[in-house]
Symmetry: D2
Subunit: 342 residues, 4 copies
Amino acid sequence: MKYSFRNDYSEGCHPKILEALTKHNLNQEDGYSEDIYCNQAKQLIQEKCNQSDADVHFLTGGTQVNLTLIAHALRPYESVIANEMAHIATHEAGAIEATGHKINTISRADGKLGTDDIQAVLDAHYFEHMVAPKLVFISNSTEIGTVYSAEELNELYDFCKKNNLFLYIDGARLGAAITAKNSGLSLETISANCDAFYIGGTKNGFLLGEALVITNDKLKSHLRYQMKQRGALLAKGRIFGLQFQTMLENDLYNSLAKHTNEMAKMLSDGLRNLGFSFLIEPETNQIFPIFPVEIIKKIESDYGFYIWEAINSETACVRLVTSWQTKTSDIQTFLKDLSQIM
Amino acid sequence: MKYSFRNDYSEGCHPKILEALTKHNLNQEDGYSEDIYCNQAKQLIQEKCNQSDADVHFLTGGTQVNLTLIAHALRPYESVIANEMAHIATHEAGAIEATGHKINTISRADGKLGTDDIQAVLDAHYFEHMVAPKLVFISNSTEIGTVYSAEELNELYDFCKKNNLFLYIDGARLGAAITAKNSGLSLETISANCDAFYIGGTKNGFLLGEALVITNDKLKSHLRYQMKQRGALLAKGRIFGLQFQTMLENDLYNSLAKHTNEMAKMLSDGLRNLGFSFLIEPETNQIFPIFPVEIIKKIESDYGFYIWEAINSETACVRLVTSWQTKTSDIQTFLKDLSQIM
Amino acid sequence: MKYSFRNDYSEGCHPKILEALTKHNLNQEDGYSEDIYCNQAKQLIQEKCNQSDADVHFLTGGTQVNLTLIAHALRPYESVIANEMAHIATHEAGAIEATGHKINTISRADGKLGTDDIQAVLDAHYFEHMVAPKLVFISNSTEIGTVYSAEELNELYDFCKKNNLFLYIDGARLGAAITAKNSGLSLETISANCDAFYIGGTKNGFLLGEALVITNDKLKSHLRYQMKQRGALLAKGRIFGLQFQTMLENDLYNSLAKHTNEMAKMLSDGLRNLGFSFLIEPETNQIFPIFPVEIIKKIESDYGFYIWEAINSETACVRLVTSWQTKTSDIQTFLKDLSQIM
Amino acid sequence: MKYSFRNDYSEGCHPKILEALTKHNLNQEDGYSEDIYCNQAKQLIQEKCNQSDADVHFLTGGTQVNLTLIAHALRPYESVIANEMAHIATHEAGAIEATGHKINTISRADGKLGTDDIQAVLDAHYFEHMVAPKLVFISNSTEIGTVYSAEELNELYDFCKKNNLFLYIDGARLGAAITAKNSGLSLETISANCDAFYIGGTKNGFLLGEALVITNDKLKSHLRYQMKQRGALLAKGRIFGLQFQTMLENDLYNSLAKHTNEMAKMLSDGLRNLGFSFLIEPETNQIFPIFPVEIIKKIESDYGFYIWEAINSETACVRLVTSWQTKTSDIQTFLKDLSQIM
């Protein structure tokens, strides 16, 4: 295979991370993220969020963060509101339901939720024979690559506060959202406009690791108990601390994400020039071009990607994902190969 | 602080692991432990277990393995039988109960279970107003540092099979058990005498990672669904594969464990020479000497350790843990310091 | 209020039930449905189902039966397939999710599922990042009053068996389905065409009580453990036995249901004569006429009913339910009142 | 069999209950305990508790009340403290664990808990690797027939409030406790000294039904959602209302319990006169005499009872339970038969 556009976690990690792990490898430190590196990384995150009293926790992956935070936020009869494409609704093997909670889904092609969508769910749930919706789950960027701007987040969060709902952001690809064109996003604008979110590491050059940031006091107490109970408290938490320190210094996190988006832009521009259309307008590092099935068959041995959905019997939408490791030459080769078989 | 005997996960990892991570860092591989390194590591483990059809899965930590396997093995009304000191019964924040299952505990000072103990639990549970005990949980080495020999495992497993019970071994410190004096243990004798167990990495020189080995066909199906649902399927599973490959080549895993036990032996011999007694006879890398409270106060600023339990108003049992990184000089300095303040 | 069409459980129970309770009141019997009345009732049900080895259990209400059976049938990662109007999906306050399981819903206006609907869910769930659909849930009659005929059940069950799925029928209004025109249904044809179902008592003249019938051996073992764990094992189970005996003798159960359907037919015919249309063609004792909002306002003080959904700003669909206690005169008065305010 | 002392729910119900059910049978009422009878019964209970703002809910049985209230009171990582004989710890098939919560048990022969017992559990749980004890569960009368006096309850509740713990009382046999000699108990003293409790109906002459009384505001919100989710919201809740009305008028509830205790007193006095000793001093309607095994064999065909535990190879403790239906002649015949075979 020449190159895989299957996802943004096909490689190891940014070399600076391995340097940091190596440099501090044999120091004795306390376990379970109570080491010096985690403490420093937490402080760095608080500073960048401009929230000195935010709680920061490190976990190993997105599903783990989602299920831990949601199980922590909800009473047994409370439910989550999410787009029907939401990762928790489709690709977490029922992780949320396994903690006892229903997900009320909304069908919307852009992968997002608006206040009217949420209001409709609230209206439909009005007495004790139904679940009580309590937490709004959004991903930014979304599972279909779209972005909630700072302004949109602000509107959503206002609505949630007025309706006594928690707003939680799955940030598996938060870097891609922050560095998307005109998003107006930063750790500061994000943390000001939700009750909790996580800064995704795995898909932006970490070995593993996500940083859960909790700004709402109601969600803070006993979160480490919840983590431990879900198997989410890592003994050598130091590896989270070292990675986040490395990535947040000199803005490496955003630099990698910016590069990733740029590669996606080059790719989508190239595809557009070749005459392809998209299921949805590309905004970040996941793009969804529509290819003739014949072309898919011709390129799938050389290039890795997922088929997103059939459009009709002759065309299908595929998902192409760029990463911090994608090079200009990877894009160029792909576009050239594509043009030659068209 | 001069040295911490608090646990065996205070450092990073064996340097060879960082070398392997660095060497293979930028290769594109499939995610979720379907990469080439994991495949090779699984094969290596199957070979060492002499079980070519065993299933092998990689997870991030002990609590995660325990809750995933137990949730997978049991029907809702079924329970676990365990020693009351078992990690799942004390130090996992109710992780097993959070998956819906009761733990029937047995009080026994050596941290182990015998067939008579298990029979007593079975006898006490005989109809549908009670839980139905179904899985026997043991740790090897145990939470109090003792070891089940190959012979003892064999006797337990025979009993379990006769009584239609699963036998599952928490191997957080499996290396310490295997390399304990006269244990008769090996991956082969262990895997032949239980339905599932895990090879603990975190406490024996890994960055993170445990390998769950399932030998009973009844427990194999859909285990990856269970993992995903519990947030235990790591995107960059490659880091497990690379670590286990590194550790199983040239028997590095056992070498590290052997060293760890030898350091504990040197430490317990030295303490005995100084006149101290033990809560329980030392067998592996966790030892439980009884110290006067006055001495504890004098050494606790220079040395890290946990107070296990008060013996009386003047003495207490402390837990001292050696690791793959403990050096002869660390032991010597500690014993010398101790002798000077007595 | 003149009369309530709100539901079919607004009254107490058929007088013969109170007679039976009174007659046998002071006999000492074993608890938890191990009394003589339950044993006889179970045998009666087995006979009417023509399944001498079916297991029969008595529970207090529909939600309780549904959650108990489904929790019993599924492994943690398995899900239920249901119409999006299914009681478990809408009006059980997340009871199924509270046992850990996702419901995959299908949107279909007649409240039913076809084999193609189920196939589509199966096709969309193909690997371990998703739940594994395992149980098909249908209600008969459905929440919108429609009926699966014996033939339809047979087709569904064949499909389920071929696809290794359980078929479970919520029979809260099973009597209404059995006595619906041309349904071809009987306890015998129903029990031959599913893995488990329940005979609803509450909505057909019982004080309380539903009889769960399990025909698939895989679902039988330890069901009483599951019931006890869910708080569904009633101490004085005798009251179930006495009720089912009373109702199954002389076919009283079907007689009441038949009457109920006849009252609904009289009501829907009358409404049609008055010019009203229906959201869906009436088949059983729940009918869904569409009324002008103005009329609704005029009748709602004299008659009880639920507004099902708004059709537009001027009309809405209401749900009218007849019961074993509805009298011809209740219908006549209602139709007359309605005609006078039109 | 001449007479069964197996339990206090072997008969139907007090005849006045059947009268009430019959009298109001065909009135149309709202479902789910929103009928006029339930409303009146709730008010009656509030008055007798002297707590006009207490919440009152009706459920079908003790296990159901326990699991619903406890699931409602606790966050996922919180646990229950109970005596190891507690019904929830032994005879509810893991119902509490099935809602996700651990029970921390205390071994004490009198079936009770003291403040020192609870303090010991609190001391042993101090960080996030352990569960966080939050609710103290006691039964009154206990599973071994003993009684917490009003004074003892007051001391426990003071302790719980100081330690931020909920105190919940399982009142399956609350009548037996209230009418025990010198208990000082009444609905008023009980409701003033706990956060929630239930008034047991099933074991004191009801067909079925328990009334959960919640006095702590923190536990009140959304309890009906929790009930619905657990299958504990009965459609024809009217049968609870009618029963509690009947039983609370003219103090019938206490009269029946008083009679039950008197029968137990006559029985224990008679046994003592015959020279038998007891496992624990009889206080209420469950008594635990120690019989030679030979005598047990001779009486077990004529009298129903459970063997509680073996004392040695020649003697065993049996449980004898009197009920609201036990007659003086039943006791006399039993004692006479016993004396003749000694």
